[in-house]
């Protein structure tokens, strides 16, 4: 019971972090049709900015300043680079963000070095939130969940209850009409791209110290958020939420379970020896398989439900 509750909570908090990342990606994708390959790089940039800002003026300021900085970088990139290749089609758009991911990685290594930096959880949030069945649940995990929920609420309110949200939603389906009504659609796109990047930056601020802030952090999380977006259904925000939580919980449980197919068969009474066919597969522990579970999940979803969990379009 203790194991399940704690793993579930950890899984949800990891899933929330994934959602913060994938929500920005989904927003940008559904608005502009651009798959932002550098999204995880913006996440990394957020973590590094937060590290520097924290050492200058403190964590709480970093929580605000770092995402804004990342958002500005994203908006500038959209304005001066992405917009220029828009006329060439979607593939060059994807490629230019791919090139950007290389450049950000190199620049980060240049400025902050090639090893991890000492970006820590602030003292005020360092400690247990509550104790459950004798195991402490860290306060920072609770904080992560809180921030993610707040962010989810904020996006939802912004998109459905404000004027700018209405314009964004309209520009999604009928850009020409919105333009004809006198709205500056390119600027809306720039705002969306910058906003999506700022969300990734925010995820970096709170994820960087919960995990490790290092140059390879973008690469390690990059694949998973693409899986989340496909599994949830391309362009579906609710789908991204569901898929993030699912994958977060799935991975957290898998890492913690130290069982293999062999041990499962043993409880039924079948004993396998190293000479059995496919022994390498049978003896694999679930915790060893954990890193590939999201990708297996992706393949299964594509076979059985190609449009994703909550997606509406196949493409």
């Amino acid at each position: 019971m203790e194991f399940y509750t704690i793993s579930l909570l950890n899984g949800i908090s990891y899933g929330m972090l994934l959602f913060m990342l994938s929500s920005g990606l989904t927003l940008i994708f559904s608005m502009m049709g651009v798959l932002n390959f550098a999204h995880a790089s913006f996440y990394m940039l957020g973590a590094y900015f937060a590290y520097t800002v924290t050492s200058l003026i403190g964590f709480w300021a970093a929580l605000l300043v770092a995402p804004v900085l990342v958002g500005l970088v994203g908006a500038a990139f959209e304005k001066y680079f992405l917009r220029r290749v828009h006329k060439f089609g979607h593939v060059p758009e994807l490629l230019i963000t791919f090139g950007l991911s290389y450049i950000i990685l190199e620049l980060v290594q240049l400025v902050w070095g090639r090893s991890s930096v000492d970006y820590r959880v602030p003292v005020a949030l360092d400690g247990p939130l509550f104790t459950l069945f004798g195991t402490q649940f860290p306060m920072y995990r609770g904080f992560m969940m809180g921030v993610a929920l707040l962010m989810l609420m904020a996006i939802w309110l912004l998109l459905t209850r404000t004027r700018i949200g209405l314009v964004i939603q309209a520009a999604l389906t009928h850009p020409e009409m919105v333009e004809a009504l006198g709205h500056n659609v390119p600027r809306v796109f720039m705002l969306v791209f910058g906003g999506g990047c700022a969300l990734a930056g925010l995820a970096g601020v709170i994820g960087g110290n919960a995990y490790v802030t290092e140059p390879s952090m973008a690469f390690s999380v990059g694949g998973v958020i693409f899986v989340v977006v496909v599994v949830g259904g391309m362009g579906s925000l609710a789908g991204a939420f569901l898929a993030s939580i699912l994958i977060g919980v799935l991975q957290t449980f898998a890492v913690a379970i130290d069982a293999s197919l062999m041990s499962a068969l043993q409880t039924v009474g079948v004993t396998l020896t190293p000479s059995t066919f496919g022994y390498a597969l049978w003896k694999l522990k679930l915790s060893q398989v954990a890193p590939i579970l999201p990708y297996l999940f992706l393949v299964l979803i594509l076979i059985f439900r190609p449009k994703g969990l909550l997606g509406t379009r196949e493409g």
Binding site: F29, G33, L35, F81, R84, V85, F88, H90, V91, P92, L94, L95, I96, F98, G99, L100, Y102, I103, L105, E106, L107, Q109, L110, V111, G113, F219, G223, F226, V227, V229, V230, M234, A280, L284, Q288, V289, P291, I292, P294, Y295, L296, L298, V299, L302, I303, P306, E314, G315
Partner: protein
Amino acid sequence: MSSKVYQFKPFNVGRVVIWTLFALVLLTAPLLFTSSLSQTMLSQMGIAIIVCLSYNILLGQGGMLSFGHAVYSGMGSFLAIHTLNQVSGGWPLPVSLVPIAGGLASMAVAILLGWVTTKKAATPFAMITLGIGELVWAMSLMFPEFFGGEGGVSGNRVVGAKTFGISYGPQIELYYLIAVYTFICTGLMFAFTRTPLGRMLNAVRDNPERVEFVGYDTQKVRYIAFIIAAFFAGISGGLAALNFEIVTSEVVSGYRSGAYLLFTFLGGATFFFGPIIGAILMVLAFVLLSEFTKAWLLYLGLVFLFMVMYAPGGVASLLMMNLRVAKFGHLRKLWVSYLALGLTALVVLLGAAAMIEMVYHLQLNSALGPELTFLGGTLNSKSLNSWFGSGFVMLTGLGLFEICRRQFAREWGQIQESIEKEIKRMESL
């Protein structure tokens, strides 16, 4: 049409000349560059040419942006090295056929994984290939029995029967094996673009909806093309296994896939020969540029960024545009502008590179003191003079470059206009 002048059926003279030249270059290259470094590089170029061309079947001809092509070249490498070890154990297979075993193995992998991958096109396709690439890469660390774990799998290519006394021990013998494979694979891949399937693939890229209306299954066309691309990638992987005699899990990594994408695009995905240029650039960058400077990935990223923005057709498209200008006899007018552009760009590069190198020096080698050598000169990364000097050089270059660029853009526009007019005039004749 002017191209008809050179066609004497059944022989296409231009094509015969080009392929003969290609064969000659492959034959004579190791005679011109005889050092062992250049021989290794030439071998790697041959391998890279095959894999980049196979990648271009997906990217250029099929419009499929794959982030997981290294899966197929890498699986080819692994199967080839295992086959090679079986040959060492007594299988009666000549070493020269081992790459084909790699190709067939990759094909089998593609038949399995490609079915899922090619279910979608465009952006979802890109994401799925990324996911599958990650899947295989993570698996490579999970099954050390097959992938050899951290140390990789090593083999020995000097085994089996020595036909005509060729043992593949010296690098030069292997180079010629690679050259033969490169020539044949390039020929086959070019032939593929001329088949009905190859044409259909272009149609699927440009207008899938219409293709469905005509009655073709776009998914099936993509699937078959994917398998063919994987076959050639596997051959290149097999050659790489023979060349290095060791295969580590790095060959299926995302970095490798990214490099294929990057250089195929830089070479030019819109022309058949573009990836060949890209492959040569790839080996030059990986072997020479990485020795030359620590900041090579940054330079690479910047070059890529500007290429996507200003020349989305890659180096090949730049070449072809100038060829068109030359064909109409206007290249003479441009050479002054080219010279000016080149010189000013060099000045910009000099200033920018000096600053980038100083930043890298500060970050990575600050223990060695603030001085660094840059192109024979000495820079002090802590002194204001060096920074001011290189900044000044860069800004001056940038200003001059902009002036030249405007002049060039004007001339270029005029020339294109006159070419259009010329074409119209010839059509009306």
